[in-house]
Symmetry: C2
Subunit: 210 residues, 2 copies
C-alpha cells in the first residue's frame, strides 16, 4: 500500500505495491533484516521468516533482547533484498544492481493462539526447506514455551525492482569497454550429512535442483 512511509524519494518507477509482485519476493528470499529503534538508536537483526497470506512471521527465543524489544509493539522496518545481478555499464556512474527488494513498515503482534504459533513454525521451517516439517518429530510443549512467534501485517509493504541491462549515456555506448550483466544466484550445494546421521538417505524434498 502506498503511504508516505512507503513512497520513495527516487526511482519511483521501480516501486510496486501489488501483492503479485511483493509476495513472490518474500517467498523466494530466505532471510529478512528486522530494523527497530531503542531510544532513537537503530538496531538490525537478520532472521528467518515466512509469509502466510498478508502476514509475515518470525520467531525467536523468549529470552532474546531483540524479540522482547520488538514485541512491545514499537515501529519496525523489515527489509528483504534478492540480488539478481551486477549491472556493468561503460561508466562507473551508470553501474547498477538488478535486485528485487521489499520494505515493510509494521509493528509486531505477539501470536498467542497455540495453533497459529505451531503453524507459523511449520511455515518458517518449510520456507527454508520445503517439505521438512512433515519429516520431523512433533515439537514439544517445552520447546513451544521457549519460543516467541511474532506476526507483522504486510499492509504497508512495498517492493522495488530493477531488471535489465545497463543504461549508458549516449556518448559512452561506443566505448570499447565490455558492458552487460553478471547474474547472481544463491545456490544450494551438495548436502553434508551429520556424523550421527550417516546411513540415513537424503530425503527427496532435499534433492531438489538448486
Amino acid at each position: 500500500m502506498q503511504t508516505p512511509r512507503t513512497t520513495p524519494s527516487r526511482s519511483a518507477k521501480r516501486v510496486h505495491y501489488d501483492a503479485d509482485i511483493i509476495h513472490p519476493i518474500l517467498d523466494e528470499a530466505l532471510f529478512c533484516t528486522v530494523s527497530y529503534a531503542v531510544d532513537g538508536q537503530p538496531m538490525a537483526i537478520p532472521t528467518a521468516f515466512a509469509r502466510s497470506g498478508n502476514r509475515l512471521y518470525i520467531h525467536g527465543s523468549v529470552g532474546s533482547h531483540f524479540i522482547r524489544e520488538i514485541e512491545k509493539g514499537g515501529p519496525v522496518c523489515i527489509s528483504i533484498m534478492l540480488a539478481d545481478g551486477l549491472v556493468l555499464a561503460k561508466s562507473a556512474f551508470n553501474h547498477s544492481v538488478n535486485y528485487r527488494s521489499v520494505i515493510i513498515f509494521a509493528t509486531a503482534e505477539k501470536v498467542t493462539d497455540e495453533d497459529e504459533r505451531m503453524e507459523a513454525l511449520a511455515l518458517i521451517t518449510d520456507h527454508l526447506i520445503p517439505g521438512r516439517w512433515a519429516d520431523l518429530r512433533p515439537t514439544t510443549d517445552s520447546e513451544m514455551r521457549k519460543t516467541t512467534v511474532l506476526a507483522f501485517s504486510l499492509a504497508e509493504a512495498s517492493a522495488k525492482v530493477r531488471t535489465g541491462g545497463p543504461g549508458d549515456d549516449p556518448d559512452d555506448v561506443d566505448l570499447p569497454t565490455w558492458a552487460g550483466v553478471i547474474p547472481l544466484k544463491t545456490m544450494r550445494l551438495e548436502p553434508v550429512t551429520a556424523d550421527y546421521s550417516q546411513g540415513i538417505a537424503l530425503p527427496d524434498y532435499i534433492q531438489q535442483p538448486n
Copy 2:
C-alpha cells in the same frame, strides 16, 4: 570493539570483535543494509559498500532522502549477513543457520576530500567487480557533483559466526530423520553482454571462477 551496544543478549560465544574475523566478512559480502531512525521510525536500505582499513564507504545520489538523512550524523546500524548453510536437525527446534554476520554502530561522516571520494568510488566498484575501475573511462566532475560519499568507522563493529553441523538433543540423535547441512553460496552465473556491447570480449577480470 565490545561496547554495551555490541554485546549480544544471546549466543555470546558466537560473537567476535577482531578485525581478522570482521574484515573478511565485509570484503566477501556484496551488499549491506543501512538502518537509521527518523523520529523513532526505523528505516532500512540495502546498498553497495566497500571497506578500506577500519572504514566502510557507501555512496548515493546527492538527492536521495536516505543519504540526506544519514549524512546529518544520526546513529546508524549497518548489518551484513552471509548465509553459509541451512542446518537441519532432527527436531524443528534445533534447526539453525550457518552464517557470518557483522553489525556496525556508527554515524556517517560525509567525505569531502575529492581524492578520498574518488578512491571510495573505485573501492565500491572494485568490491563488486574486482578490476573493473581500471577498465572504465574517468568519472566526470559532473558525475562527482551528483554523488555523495559517506564513511563509517568500524570501531564499534562486531561479528557473529555459526559454523558446523546440527546440535541435536541426546534423545533425538537416533531418530531416523536425515540431519546435516545444506550449504548455500551466492554464485556468479554466465555474463550477459549488453546489446550495444556485442563483439567486445569479456574481460579477464570477469572470467573469474564463481
